[in-house]
Structures are given as C-alpha cells and as structure tokens.
C-alpha cells in the first residue's frame, strides 16, 4: 500500500474521530438536560410541565423519524447559518449533532425512568427539593445506564458519520465510498471496514468498563 494511501486513511480516521467526538460532546450537552426534562416533567412528576413535555416529545419523535441522509440535506440552510458553510467536516457536525440530541435524550429519559420510584419517595420524605432529587438521586443512580446509553449513541454516531460524505463531510465512510467503491479498490474498503470495527469495539468496551465501575448494584448473577 502506498504511503499516500496510508496518509489518506490516517487523515480520514482523524476526521471521523473529530466529527464523532465533537457531535457526541454537543449531543450530550443538549441531549442530557433534554432527556432529564422529559423524564421528570409529565403530569404529577418532579417538575410537572405536561404541555411542554408533550411538545418536546413530539419534536424529539419528529427528528428521530427523519432518515439521517434526508436530515443532512434538508437542514443545509441551517447548517450554513451555524457553521458558516454547508460543506466539509466541520459543517457535518451540525446534522450529526441534531440527529444525536433526540437519540441521547430518549436514552437518558429511559435511564432516569429506570431509577426505583422508592428512591424518589425517600428523597422527598427527607425534604429534598426537586433539584436535589435530580442531582443527588436520579442522575447518580442512573449514571451506569446513562453511560451505556452514551456508548450506544457514540457507536451510532460512528455509523452516521459515514453518511456525511454526501455533503463533503469526509471521514472513513467517505473514503470507503470514493476509493473502495467508486475507484474499485477493495483493499481500501476492507481497511476502512476494519478500522470502523476496531473503533466501535474500543468505544463499546471503554463504555462498558466505565459503566461497570460506577455501578454498585449487586451483580446480575450470584446476587441476592
């Protein structure tokens, strides 16, 4: 394999990591509070705002219903407004983030809802404020599930990032299409696939390790 090709692969890997890292960061910054709100704002819940909850739920569902490749193209004007351009790796971060926020929000919502209602009741009985219940009980108890959810979101971001080649997003997926497929270079395609597999494996096992480290519940087998 030529040095040129190796450079291309390295560059593409870097671009993929850049896109995934930045959109995972923004996705979490926006998705985590959104998920928290969705999990605590139904009627009678901690921050009961049923109408806002319903509207945001609809927006989340609508965003999640649009196929990613359509979303990329459909929001080009918005992307240009935010990133100053609609083409390139940085521009690709905008649709990646927008697709990830509702996904992370739903994962966080599920994780929070899994927390035993008895713990919320105990905290209320202690005289905790809604904010204290969220920070001291819900977020901490849901942390293992939230971390596993974020791991899942990052893995699917790696997959999405392969599609942003359509708007000049570059990265590994784009390299695979342009060289591996359009220039008939199956070895490039194979290497791209292998790198993607390795990336996903790495993300998955790191995520699982962190989740296990913060999880103090009884192990599933051999527990009480």
């Amino acid at each position: 394999m030529s040095a040129n090709l190796i450079n291309l692969l390295l560059e593409a890997t870097g671009q993929t990591l850049y896109m995934v890292a930045i959109s995972a960061l923004f996705g979490t910054l926006l998705g985590l509070p959104l998920g928290l709100f969705l999990a605590t704002s139904q009627r009678g819940e901690l921050v009961s705002m049923p109408w806002v909850n319903k509207v945001l739920g609809l927006v989340v569902n609508a965003t999640r219903s649009v196929p990613f490749i359509i979303l990329v193209v459909a929001i080009i004007p918005f992307t240009r407004m935010v990133a100053g351009t609609s083409i390139g790796t940085t521009a690709a971060i905008v649709p990646l983030t927008i697709a990830t926020v509702p996904f992370i929000a739903r994962l966080v919502e599920n994780a929070i809802r899994e927390v035993d209602a008895g713990l919320i009741e105990a905290a209320r009985a202690m005289g905790a404020t809604p904010v204290q219940i969220i920070t001291k009980v819900l977020l901490r108890e849901a942390l293992p599930s939230i971390i596993l959810g974020l791991t899942l979101a990052i893995v699917s971001l790696i997959g999405y990032s392969a599609m942003v080649g359509a708007v000049g997003g570059e990265g590994l997926g784009d390299l695979g299409i342009r060289y591996g497929y359009q220039r008939f270079m199956p070895d490039v395609m194979a290497i791209v696939v292998v790198i993607l597999i390795v990336l996903v494996q790495l993300v998955q096992s790191i995520g699982e390790r962190i989740a296990a480290a913060v999880d103090k519940r009884a192990p599933k087998s051999g527990g009480q």
Binding site: D116, G118, L119, E121, A122, A123, R124, A125, M126, G127, A128, T129, Q132, K136, V137, R140, E141, L143, V214, D215, K216, R217, A218, G223, Q224
Partner: protein, 353 residues
C-alpha cells in the same frame, strides 16, 4: 455519642378523607373520616390488610399524600396544606423507613446516611461526626464503606433507620419496615426501634399487617379496615378484649389459639341432646394469667377439664394467656361461672358430641 434528647411530637388526624378518581369517573374512598390522635413519644401501630388505607394514612404525616378532606397535624403544625420550603422543613422533622429500604445503590453506608444531612445543607465536618455516631448507634461500624448490595436485609434496614434519624426528627414513620425480613431479623430491627424510642423519646408510627409486630413493640394500636379505623386503644386492651371482627381475625394468628382441626370439624352450634362437651375459650389477663385456675376447677369443683390448645405470652410487659378447653355440657355453666368469678374471661365457641 452526642445524644440530643429530642422530644417526640404528637400526630393528629382530624376527620381525614382521601378519595381517588378512578377510570370512568368513579371515585374510590381510600380513607373515610379518619380521626386518630397519636401520643407523643409512644410507639403506635396501625394494622390493616393491604388496600385498607394504612399506607395512605401514614404517608399523610410527611405530606407524601394529601387528604381530600380533613387535616393532618404534626406537633400542631398542619402538614396537609404545607407547601414548598415549609413542607420540606416539616419533613426534616419526620424520618421514614421503608419496606424495601429505598437506599441509594451508588452510595456507601456512610453516604446513604449522609444524604438527608446534605439535603438539609449541613456542613461537611458536622455530617462526618453525625454519620459516625449514627453508624455506631445502629451497629454498622464495620460496614461504613460498603455498598448496600453487599449487605443483608437486616443491615440495610439499619442503614434506613440511621438515615431516618440523621436530621434528629421528632417522629419516625415505619412503612412495613420488617415485612421483607425473616423472623429473627425482624426481632433485632424491632428491638432497635424500641431502643431508639426509649433513648430519644421520639414518636414512632408504624404500619404493618402483622399483629406480632404490634404486640412486640407498640403501646397503642389502631385497626383499619376499608378506609376506616374500626378499633383503637392500648395494645393490651385490644389484645385482651378485641371488639371488632377484623381485630379478632388479626389476633387469631397470634394469640393463638385457633381450634385444632379435629375439634373444629366436629364443632356444632346447638347443644347435643345426649352427653357432649362444650368448647370454651378462656382468656387470662394481667395478674390472673399465672393462677392455676383450671387445676382448682377440677380439684375444688370436681369438674373435668380437657385442654385443647393454649398459649401464654407477653404483651408489652403484661402476661396474657389464652386457652381452649372443653367441659361436660351439664357442668359447663357452673364451670364458666367459677372461672368468671375468679377474673377470667370465657367465651363459648360451640359443642362437640
């Protein structure tokens, strides 16, 4: 340890009602015109079957449930209408322990006990000494750094108790705290609650479906059935002279003495024409519980007594005996009069031929 002698607070339920709207516009009365006053510093048990409303009643004391009518007062403060900061302040004066402990899995024993103090905004150094005291009090000094998942049910409930005591409450609510524990562990947890009541003088209000729990620690008891208090009073009085059928059915499991099957199956309500035996329940209370009355019945009166079942136990500190005997029909009235004259209570249950 630093013992702030907190005086228990009184709790008053004043014509409390709670109705839930069910599907189809039908409303369901979980509590109906409940009035009950709980003495400060006492241990009071509320006993009822599941769905009787006891949990709803208990949860009104710290405002986890609100009545739809009537008022609930703790130390004269109205909980039922309190909101926001006022309600949170009341809640810090009312500790609560739960059937399933409700401990944070991600916090150690010490961390769980520290939680209510953190919530109350206590400074870190004070939290540390207070938590150490509490861990010591509930006998978990060796386990301060462990997580709840590593501990037994009894130990978890001890964490729950220490946590409930952290903010030095005036009232401790116990929501079926021993129902998930085995009998032996139940005894140790009840003994701990008794000690706490004695040492700190705080009011304990507990709900349970087990009469044995009431017998072992409660000085007062209220029996709840379908959202109404059907009977209440001193535990000893309720045990020795239950008035309501529900109370009797709760008691039959504890004070004994259900009829043996071979007698129950042959029991009839009409006196047999021929020779037969009358089955009588004899209740011994207080000082009479230890008198050898049955022996005297046979010796002095010449009436043969057949003992079918019996138990003598303690309620609070007072002995209480309950015996099932059978007597020849012809002499039964005479025998019962003799026993009644000597301070025992008798109840005719039926006849066997």
């Amino acid at each position: 340890m630093t013992e702030n002698k907190t005086r228990g607070a009184s709790i008053a339920f004043d014509t409390v009602g709670k109705s839930f709207n069910k599907a189809g516009g039908v409303s369901f009365n979980a509590l109906d015109n409940v009035s009950l006053s709980v003495a400060p510093g006492a241990i009071t048990g509320i006993i009822g079957r599941s769905g009787a409303g006891k949990s709803t009643l208990l949860r009104m004391v710290n405002g986890l449930e609100r009545p739809t009518s009537g008022r609930v007062l703790v130390a004269g403060q109205e909980v039922s209408t309190a909101k926001g900061a006022q309600l949170r302040a009341i809640r810090r004066d009312v500790g609560m322990i739960f059937q399933h402990f409700n401990l944070l899995s991600t916090r150690t024993v010490a961390g769980n006990i520290a939680l209510p103090l953190e919530i109350a905004g206590v400074a870190a150094p004070q939290i540390k000494t207070r938590v150490a005291d509490l861990i010591d009090r509930v006998g978990l000094s060796d386990h301060a750094g462990r997580y709840p998942a590593e501990l037994s049910g009894g130990q978890k409930q001890r964490i729950g108790i220490a946590r409930a005591l952290a903010t030095e409450p005036k009232v401790l609510l116990s929501d079926e705290a021993t129902s998930a524990l085995d009998p032996e562990t139940t005894q140790t947890v009840l003994a701990l609650l008794k000690d706490i009541n004695r040492d700190l003088g705080l009011t304990i209000l507990l709900i349970t479906h087990e009469m044995a729990v009431v017998r072992d620690i409660a000085s007062h008891v209220a029996v709840i059935e379908a959202g109404r208090i059907v009977e209440h009073g001193a535990t000893y009085d309720i045990f020795t002279a239950p008035q309501h059928a529900t109370t009797r059915s709760f008691l039959s499991g504890v004070t004994g003495v259900t009829l043996p099957a071979f007698v129950r199956d042959r029991l009839v309500q009409n006196a047999p024409a021929q020779r037969g035996e009358e089955v009588v329940r004899v209740t011994f209370t207080g000082t009479y519980a230890t008198d050898p009355m049955l022996a005297r019945l046979t010796k002095d009166m010449g009436i043969p007594v057949n003992i079918l079942a019996g138990a003598i136990e303690e309620i609070g500190t007072q002995p209480y005996g309950n015996l099932l005997i059978s007597l020849p029909v012809s002499q039964a009235a005479q025998a019962r009069a003799f026993l009644e004259n000597h301070g025992l209570t008798t109840e005719m249950l039926g006849y066997v031929g």
